[in-house]
């Protein structure tokens, strides 16, 4: 029956939809400064759109409450972020789990790398994840766009912190 799997695979482009996204941002601050900011709960809370709170439980664990909208689904999410492969100030990995009550859930893994670039820092990230429940049912088609928007929003606010220094 491999033939069928092949046929389905080839033609049904939109089965197996996982969110896969990567990007790069140039942040006008030194790498160590960027690293510290990325590990600062208050900074994160200020930069995540719709964020109500970020609590840093340890260097390896953050909890957050975020209101986000994906297509027609707007809900409050509880996020837990586990930090692993912590290699300051160069890189870390994040296991993110997001729960939105009856609206669904998301989970994913992100890898973040910071590279020095003259006076600034080049931040690269790669994220892979998927959503479930109503989020998948109603919004899966919109996930890539929403993920991109959220990342852009975050890093643009994040970069603005150092806007005056340039």
């Amino acid at each position: 029956m491999e033939d069928y799997a092949r046929v389905v695979d080839r033609f049904v482009g939109f089965g197996g939809r996982t969110l896969e996204q990567s990007g790069q941002y140039r942040i006008p601050a030194a790498r160590a400064v960027v690293w510290d900011a990325l590990n600062d709960a208050d900074v994160l809370a200020a930069c995540i759109e719709g964020c109500e709170s970020v609590t840093k439980l340890s260097d390896h664990r953050f909890d957050a409450n975020i209101t986000a909208k994906l297509g027609p689904v707007k809900t409050k999410f509880k996020a837990t972020i586990e930090v692993s492969d912590r290699n300051p100030p160069q890189s870390y990995s994040l296991e993110v789990s997001v729960k939105g009550g009856m609206q669904g859930f998301g989970k994913g893994r992100a890898e973040v790398e910071l590279a020095e670039d003259q006076n600034a820092t080049l931040l690269s990230y790669r994220v892979e994840g998927n959503v479930g429940g109503k989020l998948a049912q109603m919004g899966s088609r919109l996930i890539t766009a929403a993920g991109r928007k959220m990342a852009d929003g975050f890093f643009s606010k994040f970069s603005e912190r150092w806007a005056d220094t340039i």
């Binding site: 080839r10 009856m102 479930g132 109503k134």
Partner: protein, 782 residues
């Protein structure tokens, strides 16, 4: 007689006056004093162990009256939702029927499976309460892909390899021998896409319990209320049949999805008893997507063996069918007795062998959807036949004619267990060819090409076995219930008539069609006949509406009961006319003595039956009300020819259906307008499957086509102006000569569209639905 309202007349539907003025009475329109509202908490995980469920926060919320889990139903010995058709595997073993508690107890197996129910004073409080239910799940590996489900991680302890059964039909050796001697073999790998039924009215239930009497009443959106009552009583243990009344009031479409007994009405009627309060539940559209039984979802390898001249010598089919996570009520019968048995199609193929393996996956249960098995069979046969014609350089009409069962061959016994009673397949094909103007196709194709478009034509000559079913045949093949129908014709004192039927109308127009039959036979005004259906408290019994059975089986029961009324009336009339039964004629509502001018009308006879002054009380009981049960002796075999012409824009891959002709043989027709409407609706669904509709679970088991943003329903501008017509060979074994028309459109049309599309593109196959992207990729050779 074809009066303006009699048999054969295009009478406007009685029921439409209320439907088009918003005066229909649906389940959600029913409200009771002190009514509570139920909301179900559904799994977001396709497969997970339930470690714990905590309803305490929900219970603490204002307005919440109760919160139940599967354990609560189990504690009251509420049984599993059963499957009503036992299919046996090749080795004689019974199919595997895994436990299917209405509300999940220890494990959830598809997204949308309910694991708790919150009951509250208002809908909003119930929703808030449901939001407050928390549960701890341990996610388990999911099985989504149908091709690899057999042998993937085992979902049910009872089902090794996730197999439900491995069934076969036909003569394997004879078929293999036919292939060995064949000049040519055409083979296709076919994916029959998964569909979501999308009835306009979502499922709903209102459960009531009267503590003083112990009587339960369940209003629900069922296509077969008596069967619903039987199952809730005998299998699920809600209440004794005599203590449970099930009413299906106006129901807005079913297409099969409302045949089945579901978790929600089961839990609602149980909880109504527990709380001694009325409880209402109505699915929102998201719930319908997740938790209505889905349709189709087959993977098939099909081969047709032919002689060089195009004569079919053998057909070999191997199918994997998706059952979803649990066996729905008739799921097992759809890819077997409603599929394998139809693979002879309209042809004299002497050797046929079919194997069907049904498997479980972590998706919603899959069951009957308009046509149920027969669209899948037609798709296999008609795609193969068209492809074989192309490979052998034959005209698609000629190769069919060469192989048709001929009128003189009837009754015709197929190699796959059916005996067709009658038909004239070439008559339908001939008419369809004329109506589409087959002769002018080449010219139209050239003109399309001149406009930069690709044009193609495709045929589909389908057959279906309808009028489910002879009870003893169905029972011998594993059905759990008989499939006869009941009717009562109750004549009132003044001669108006109520007809009680066990069939249920959820769009079919029975109130009109059945009234036409009775008014025609009794010679009374159409307006004086009222059809009562959908209420176990008012009709004796019934098996409901599906499988194009209502007119054929239910209508025949009505004819039988009406004949009994006429027979008794004739005796009364003979007494009143001081003559003998043999000398009394009955025509157009009047009894008259042969060769005399003495006569008496039917209402006068009815009056005499209830006011029996001048009445033979020593011979006859007073009153005029008769009942009948009708069990058909065979299935009926509607058949027809659908021809589709498409135009494809090679720049965009958009497919336009430019011509569609359906010529169907439904036997005798009671109301041609209703029949045309049924065909139109069926065609829209069949074309929807070909071009638009697809239910997709992603690899993690989430339904990603869970709303109308992603699941494409056919719309008016996707459809051409259909040309529909009929030919008639009357059914030989029912009193109406009728064959049934409810499913034909959805059965025949899909293959016609895809045959036309592959013709236009010059490719062997395009997977369904043929969306512009899919078509564009096919053109690019991807």
């Amino acid at each position: 007689m074809t009066s303006e309202t009699g048999i054969g007349a295009a009478v406007k539907r009685k029921e439409d006056a209320r439907f088009i003025t918003g005066a229909g009475h649906y389940t959600d329109d029913i409200n009771q004093p002190g009514q509570l509202y139920a909301v179900f908490v559904r799994s977001m995980y396709p497969r997970a162990e339930i470690r714990s469920i905590d309803v305490s926060s929900a219970l603490a919320m204002e307005g919440v009256v109760a919160a139940y889990t599967g354990a609560d139903l189990a504690a009251d010995e509420i049984g599993d939702l059963p499957c009503g058709w036992m299919v046996k595997s090749k080795d004689g073993s019974d199919m595997i029927q895994p436990p299917h508690p209405p509300v999940a107890v220890s494990v959830v197996n598809y997204v949308g499976e309910p694991y708790a129910m919150v009951v509250a004073e208002t809908l909003q409080a119930a929703r808030d309460g449901a939001e407050a239910v928390t549960a701890d799940f341990n996610e388990l590996p999911v099985v989504v892909d149908l091709a690899s489900a057999h042998g993937a991680d085992q979902i049910h302890e009872a089902a090794p390899g996730n197999q439900c059964y491995d069934w076969e039909l036909g003569d394997r050796e004879a078929t293999d021998a036919a292939f060995a001697s064949a000049d040519h073999v055409t083979s296709l790998d076919i994916v029959n896409n998964r569909l979501i039924p999308n009835a306009m009215e979502p499922r709903a239930a209102v459960g009531m319990y009267e503590a003083a009497t112990g009587n339960y009443t369940l209003y629900t959106t069922s296509q077969n209320p008596h069967l619903e009552r039987l199952i809730l009583a005998a299998f699920v243990n809600v209440a004794a049949e005599s203590k449970l009344r099930v009413v299906s009031p106006d129901v807005g479409g079913g297409f099969g999805s409302k045949i089945f007994v579901y978790a929600e009405e089961t839990a609602v009627i149980w909880a109504a008893g527990k709380l001694a309060r009325a409880i209402k539940w109505r699915a929102d559209r998201s719930e319908s997507f997740l938790a209505d039984a889905h349709g189709r979802d087959h993977l098939t390898k099909a081969e047709l063996a032919l002689k060089a001249d195009g004569t079919f010598v053998g057909l070999r089919v191997k199918t994997v069918a998706n059952m979803g996570a649990y066996l729905s009520l008739f799921a097992s019968s759809v890819p077997t007795y409603l599929y394998g048995t139809l693979l002879a199609g309209q042809y004299r193929t002497p050797a046929i062998y079919v194997e069907v393996q049904s498997v479980f996956t972590n998706t919603a249960p899959v069951d009957a959807y308009r046509g149920a098995g027969r669209p899948e069979a037609t798709y296999v046969v008609e795609r193969l036949v068209e492809t074989a014609a192309r490979e052998l350089g034959k005209d698609p009409a000629d190769i069919r004619r060469l192989n048709f069962i001929q009128p003189e061959d009837f009754p015709y016994e197929t190699p796959v267990a059916l005996t067709y009673d009658t038909g004239d397949y070439d008559a339908s094909l001939k008419k369809a060819i004329e109506l589409i103007g087959y002769d002018g196709f080449a010219e139209r194709k050239a003109s399309s090409e001149a406009n930069g478009k690709k044009r193609g034509i495709g045929f589909s000559c389908y057959i279906e076995a309808c009028g489910l079913a002879p009870s003893q045949v169905a029972l011998s093949l594993g059905a759990g219930v008989g499939l006869f129908e009941s009717a009562e014709v109750r004549v009132d004192v003044t001669g108006s008539v109520s007809v009680m039927t066990g069939c249920h109308s959820h769009g079919q127009g029975h109130e009109t069609t059945f009234a036409q039959i009775v008014s025609d036979k009794l010679g009374i005004p159409f307006e004086n006949v009222d059809v009562v259906h959908g209420d176990t408290g008012r009709s004796d019994y019934g098996l409901g509406t599906y499988g194009s059975r209502s007119l054929v089986v239910g209508g025949s029961a009505i004819v039988k009961a009406t004949d009994k009324v006429i027979a008794k009336s004739r005796k009364i009339a003979a007494h009143m006319l001081e003559s003998t039964e043999e000398n009394v004629d009955f025509e157009e509502g009047t009894f008259s003595v042969t060769d005399s001018n003495q006569s008496i009308t039917f209402p006068e006879v009815a009056f005499s039956a209830y006011v029996p002054g001048n009445y033979p009380l020593d011979e006859l009981e007073p009153g005029l009300s008769e009942k009948a049960f009708y069990d058909p002796e065979n299935f009926t075999y509607p058949a027809g020819a659908h021809i589709c012409e498409v135009e494809v824009d090679p720049e965009t891959g958009k497919v336009e259906i430019v011509n569609f002709v359906a010529v169907d043989d439904f036997g005798e027709i009671i109301n041609p307008m209703i029949v045309a409407g049924q065909v139109h609706g069926g065609l829209a669904q069949g074309i929807g499957q070909a071009l638009l509709e697809h239910a997709i679970y992603d690899e993690s088991g989430q339904l990603v086509t869970g709303s109308y943003m992603d699941y494409t329903m056919p719309r008016a501008d996707d459809m051409p102006n259909f040309v529909v017509d009929t030919t008639v060979t009357p059914c030989t074994h029912n009193p109406l000569g009728a064959k049934g028309c409810g499913e034909a459109g959805a059965i025949g049309s899909t293959a016609a569209v895809m045959n036309a599309l592959t013709d236009a593109l010059g490719v062997v196959d395009v997977p369904m639905p043929a969306t512009p992207e899919t078509v564009w990729r096919a053109m690019e050779g991807e």
